[in-house]
Amino acid sequence: MDQVMAEDFQVIDNCLMIRLPEEIDHHRAGYISETADRYLLREEVQNVVFDFENTRFMDSSGIGIIMGRYRKISCFGGKVYAVNADSQIQRILRVSGLYRIVETVK
């Protein structure tokens, strides 16, 4: 079903790219966070890019994922990016105030 797979995590240069699932809630958040952290430890990545192309639903669990990764990489000068966020996802980012730490691209 709508599960996050290993191929949804990719390291390109100094970025960890995460392709997010169609729906992000608490049920799926743990897997995404723990897998992302494994990559952050293993590979020397500076930035994290969240790809929302397939994502149609997100609740505050998604905010937790982004904030958690931001905390882990910001002390080394890393940045968090959000790409392909539709209007609904952008709204969630705005309401949560996350727009201040996340750079949205496109």
């Binding site: 729906e23 809630d25 608490h26 049920h27 958040a29 743990g30 897997y31 966070s33 723990e34 897998t35 639903f57 997100m58 609740d59 505050s60 669990s61 905010i63 937790g64 994922i65 904030m67 958690g68 209007s87 609904q88 709204r91 969630i92 309401v95 949560s96």
Partner: protein, 164 residues
């Protein structure tokens, strides 16, 4: 016209998507905008998730499979009730659990306040419910459970969608 429905389900996170989709389907005949549907789904998702992980402290299935601590392997028995009443274009949603309840509702509702930072809960749940619904009331009795009541007026978002 009044229309009512209630669903009762086990307090496990697999049911979060079921709950919000059921509520969205219940209002679909009113032709809500995509934005209204997303608002309702987000608010239901927040309330139900709170009942599951805070009310009943069920973490079953959370995290990567294969390396789960024992606390994530068992579930506390418990049900979540989601009751919806449609009165005209007003949607009332009530999410009830019989979990541990909260001592300090006001503090729990503060943005960024969370008792489960280790789960990366952002502390934005109640803030989202307030932002995406028109009215929010929370009643909680420690040891007995929590009732979250939300109201939203539908059919007001048409012009916003037209702009986008």
């Amino acid at each position: 016209m009044k229309n009512e429905m209630e669903i009762i389900f086990d307090a496990v996170s697999d049911n979060e998507s079921f709950a919000r989709v059921a509520v969205a389907a219940f209002v679909s005949h009113l032709n809500p905008t995509l934005e209204e549907l997303a608002d309702i789904k987000t608010a239901v998702s927040e309330a139900v998730t709170n009942s599951i992980i805070h009310g009943y402290e069920n973490l079953y299935g959370y995290g990567r499979p294969g390396r789960c601590p024992a606390s994530r392997k068992e579930t506390n028995p418990g049900k979540v009730w989601v009751r919806c009443v449609l009165e005209g274009d007003l949607l009332h949603i009530r999410v009830t659990d019989q979990g541990r309840g909260m001592d300090n509702v006001e503090q729990a509702m503060e943005p960024l306040f969370t008792t489960k930072p280790e789960l990366e809960r952002s502390g934005m749940g109640f803030a989202f419910m307030e932002a995406f619904m028109d009215d929010l009331e929370v009643e909680s009795t420690p040891g007995q459970g929590t009732v979250v009541s939300m109201t939203k007026k539908l059919g007001t978002g048409g012009w916003i969608e037209g702009e986008e």
